[in-house]
């Protein structure tokens, strides 16, 4: 593809961004399923899932912080030019929401354990005072936002599939793990 030097942009995400995306996608979906199922489980699996949930939540907090840095510092491919403004806005808003929820969920988990007076994994410090009412609020928020995160992930997945299978515009390929760097003119 031949473009003027100024207008040539990468059509795929940086490999680090793609690695973070897919790693977090797997972890987040696993976390959501573990989260909603463990609360109604009273077998020893409950104990195991709870430990796994806390450890993975902490890992996801570190990963999302790294990912925000990557998102802000590395160039990312633009959306195809023929996307209507409303869809363009929806894409931006849903990504902002995803980032917000990915950041909020582990912090709410950490906060609700702190407010519930529970000891924390790795003896991390409490980030909220021991307060039963605050615990209730944070726990409710953790639950409600968990469902919102799942809904947002579904919308995100649906949009990606429409891009790949209906519009066939290369948007999914730009995040595909094995995609090679292709330049594109804008």
């Amino acid at each position: 593809m031949k473009c003027t030097a100024m207008k040539s942009v990468s059509a795929v995400f940086h490999p680090l961004a793609r690695a973070l995306h897919w790693l977090m996608a797997v972890l987040i979906l696993t976390m959501l399923f573990i989260g909603v199922s463990m609360v109604s489980d009273l077998t020893p699996r409950h104990t195991l899932f709870l430990q796994l949930h806390k450890a993975t939540g902490l890992a996801l907090l570190v990963l999302v912080l790294l990912r925000i840095v990557v998102r802000l510092s590395l160039a990312h491919p633009p959306l195809p030019q023929d996307i209507p403004p409303l869809q363009r806005w929806a894409a931006g808003a849903s990504h902002l929401l995803l980032y917000g929820l990915m950041l909020a969920m582990p912090l709410l988990g950490w906060g609700m354990l702190s407010a519930g007076g529970y000891p924390l994994p790795l003896q991390l410090p409490a980030i909220a005072p021991h307060d039963l009412q605050l615990h209730a609020l944070l726990r409710q928020a953790h639950g409600v936002l968990g469902y919102l995160l799942f809904a947002t992930v579904l919308v995100h997945l649906g949009a990606a599939l429409v891009h790949a299978l209906v519009r066939r515009d290369g948007v999914l390929r730009s995040m595909w793990p094995t995609a090679s760097k292709v330049d594109r003119c804008r």
Binding site: F33, V39, L42, G117, P119, Q133, L161
Partner: protein, 348 residues
């Protein structure tokens, strides 16, 4: 890059995407229990407690009536070779605790319930926390959460008499031969006149992990140092045990010996209904000293979940299914009462 699809091909693919997303969404709802649960859940247990005893917003959903105490644990050092947990070597570990009577009604008379409990939190100087909830019976009547639930149902109070139907209880025990040890205990059980001269048992087994990583299956018991005295036949004071505890603590601290009982190969580690032979090696790990009592339902213990799986490094759970179920059900109770605390006046 290919061209966008149009017409029927587009419709088919959109429908397939919609179907896929719906399936994933339905799977999530299923995992969350949206289509009901075939298995026993902590929610069902807590709901059943409330259905039987009544709804008392803000209170614990079992062992609802109790009071907060504080003191310390004085380690003897004798258990330090069995577990690397700091509580077994630190000379003085701060303790927050709660004495309670069994049952989900926070207004029951103190002496109307045979089961008494003591839950404590030990906070050692390495930042580790140990919570353990102990009951007066040495064993449970059941080995599984499902059988426990059946026991709760069998003990449903008769709406006329307000007491469990003896025939129904008898039928339950007949159908659950593993309750033999519990029934033997209940047959000779003589209630004492105080929380202070009651022994409290861990019920479940745990694993002490020593510095070499070796596991030692263990149960523990707080053995009262105050001498036994039988409960008077006639007690009119509904707060008899609470008043007694206040009086005793106004005079002097109260003491219990923390006695560890160590299993031999072949002992039932994961079955809380079966006692271990009395001759098993025991180790006195230290002395629990209770110094102060707070007002009923007030104090530092109130907003703690005494989840028996909050363990320090050096103590691990056994595979006892009731231990995991206790942890899950306590969490559910804590969720209920913390949520209820948001409504005005719903705090004990």
């Amino acid at each position: 890059m290919s061209t966008p699809l149009h017409g029927p091909a587009k419709a088919v693919r959109l429908a397939a995407i919609g179907l896929g997303l719906t399936a994933l969404g339905a799977l999530f709802v299923y995992a969350a229990g949206g289509f009901g649960h075939a298995h026993l859940t902590p929610q069902r247990i807590i709901d059943t407690f409330e259905a039987q005893a009544g709804h008392y917003p803000g209170f614990r959903k079992n062992h609802a009536k109790g009071l907060c105490v504080s003191g310390y644990f004085q380690s003897s050092g004798l258990a330090a070779s069995l577990s690397s947990a700091r509580v077994f070597s630190q000379p003085r570990v701060p303790v927050i605790g709660r004495f309670a009577i069994g049952g989900a009604n926070p207004h029951s008379p103190d002496t109307s319930v045979p089961t008494r409990s003591l839950a404590i939190q030990l906070s050692s100087d390495d930042g580790q926390v140990w919570r353990t909830g102990m009951n007066s019976p040495p064993v449970l009547a059941v080995s599984t959460p499902e059988a426990f639930y059946e026991q709760v149902l069998a003990a449903t109070p008769d709406p006329v008499t307000g007491k469990p139907d003896p025939a129904r209880l008898q039928a339950f025990f007949a159908a659950h031969p593993q309750s033999a040890a519990f029934r033997q205990w209940a047959a000779v059980y003589k209630p004492s006149d105080s929380f202070a001269n009651t022994d409290y048992n861990s019920l479940n087994a745990f694993r002490l992990i020593d510095t070499a990583g070796q596991a030692h299956p263990v149960r523990w018991r707080l053995v009262a140092q105050a001498p036994f005295a039988a409960l008077p036949a006639q007690v009119d004071d509904q707060q008899f045990l609470q008043h007694d505890l206040n009086q005793r603590l106004a005079q002097a601290p109260l003491r219990w010996t923390l006695r560890l009982s160590l299993a031999e190969p072949g002992d039932p580690i994961d079955d809380p209904a079966r006692a271990w032979p009395a001759e098993r090696r025991s180790v006195d790990a230290g002395t629990l000293v209770i110094e102060r009592v707070d007002a009923p339902e007030q104090g530092a213990c109130r907003d703690l979940n005494f989840d028996p799986l909050i363990l320090p490094r050096g103590i691990e759970p056994s595979a006892d299914p009731i231990l995991a179920a206790r942890s899950a059900a306590y969490a559910e109770s804590f969720k209920h009462r913390s949520r209820e605390s948001l409504s005005p006046g719903a705090r004990p």
